[in-house]
């Protein structure tokens, strides 16, 4: 159990059987009054947010969360399959739970999967991934149109803006947190 003195931004607590993360935290104590702990929390499964003020007598359940290193294997329609890198156990996560992550996942990628009570609830990718450019218009030297970026498609089907010199068959690095182009990489 956690007590109010454990509360802080980033702490994960269980409320009504669901895991929440505290995203904003403020301690207040009006003069001569009691300590109040205002928490803004996000449900780690649904993403729903709410605000609640607790008192120092309140107690909180520590959620059964576990992060495991896994390898992304393949997807079959909406099911994305992963394998535990240590015990080779396989699981799958549905597409909705992955959100924008699907834009950056390629076979055999190492990811962190967060489990709540043995159910996978979140997948964290590396901050930077290298992806193959599968479709790009060629760069015409002496192009005077003045545009300094062009759209390309990478192997996952994700479309993004890159500098004009990037060609089909190149590998580029993408920041998975923003989805933006970082650099062209040589392999």
């Amino acid at each position: 159990m956690y007590s109010t003195s454990d509360l802080r931004k980033g702490l994960k607590i269980e409320i009504d059987g669901e895991p929440y993360i505290i995203i904003e935290f403020e301690f207040s104590k009006p003069g001569k009054g009691q300590a109040l702990y205002r928490c803004k929390m996000r449900n780690m499964i649904t993403g729903n947010q709410f605000v609640k003020t607790y008192r120092s007598s309140d107690k909180f359940v520590k959620p059964a969360l576990e992060e495991r290193k896994m390898q992304y294997l393949y997807n079959q329609d909406d099911e994305y399959h992963f394998m535990d890198s240590e015990n080779f156990e396989q699981i799958f996560v549905v597409r909705d739970q992955l959100g924008d992550n699907v834009n950056f996942m390629v076979d055999n990628m190492e990811v962190d999967v967060l489990f709540f009570q043995d159910r996978p609830i979140d997948v964290s990718l590396p901050n930077f991934v290298n992806l193959l450019v599968t479709q790009a218009d060629p760069w015409v030297k002496g192009d005077t149109s003045g545009s300094d970026t062009k759209p390309i498609t990478v192997e996952t089907g994700y479309v993004l803006q890159v500098p004009p010199f990037v060609d089909q068959g190149d590998k580029i690095q993408i920041d998975t947190r923003t989805g933006a182009y970082v650099t062209r990489v040589k392999e």
Binding site: E26, F27, S28, K29, P30, Q34, R38, T53, S56, S57
Partner: protein, 308 residues
Amino acid sequence: MLDLQGLRTRAAFFQAIRHFFVELGFLEVDTPIRQPALIPEAHIHPLFADSWFLQASPELCMKRLLACGCEHIFQVARCFRKDERGRLHLEEMTLLEWYRKDADYRDLMEDCERLVGALAMRMAEAGVAGVDEKGSLLVAGRTIDLSPPWTRLSVTEAFSRWSPMSLPQALAEDMFDEILVEHVEPHLGWDQPLFLMDYPVELASLARTKPGEPQVAERVELYLAGVEIANGFSELCDPVEQRIRFAREIELIVTSGRTAPAMPERFLEDLGRLDQAAGIALGLDRLLMLFLGADSVARVQSFSPDDF
């Protein structure tokens, strides 16, 4: 943690406080930080040092000094309150307390108006971020005029303006603190500083009640930019009534599962020698935070807990 310029400003701030009170004829006192007795207060958790208490405020000793003949006294005191940590709280903080014999909370409010105004002018000379050249406070894009008189608002009136429920209802449903913090405090002290005054007597264990109004205590809180800065009373000087109020606080402490503190007998004994007095505690870390335009009290310390 403050840089060299910040340390100089903090030093100038303390010197200006001492100058202000010495000019008014106050005696500076320094009472022990570590004591074997404390004022029983339901929601203040003491820190201990080798089984004695670290003071939560210098109130107990300063009121005993008044009872023993002092007339106007002030102190800049390090105080300790367990488990208080946030943007506006540190477990170790600096309080300014001053007491006037034969005075009431109205006199304290006038002291505040003059003191904070004088300090702001001194800070303006030092060129701080939170005060303009005219000595007005600058917070979150707002300019707070410090020229007196400041707004005086009763707790009842504040609740009728901003609370979703009336003051009696908030007290009956044990929601006073939550409503004060969520709905009332954010409005206080933005055009000019504001005194929130006349508290329900059960929320002012050390304050005298208003003449003819036994349910209302002469307690006042000063607010600047939504931040509580000072808390003062027309002091309760009746040892019999004070004992009853302390017993109630001790009961609340026991109910919350903590160890009952002893009744401060020597304090009650001395209180019988006091006729009328008023005293107030002002949070110097918070005031300096506003003057420096800082976002937390930790930022205006020479060392904060994060600096170790």
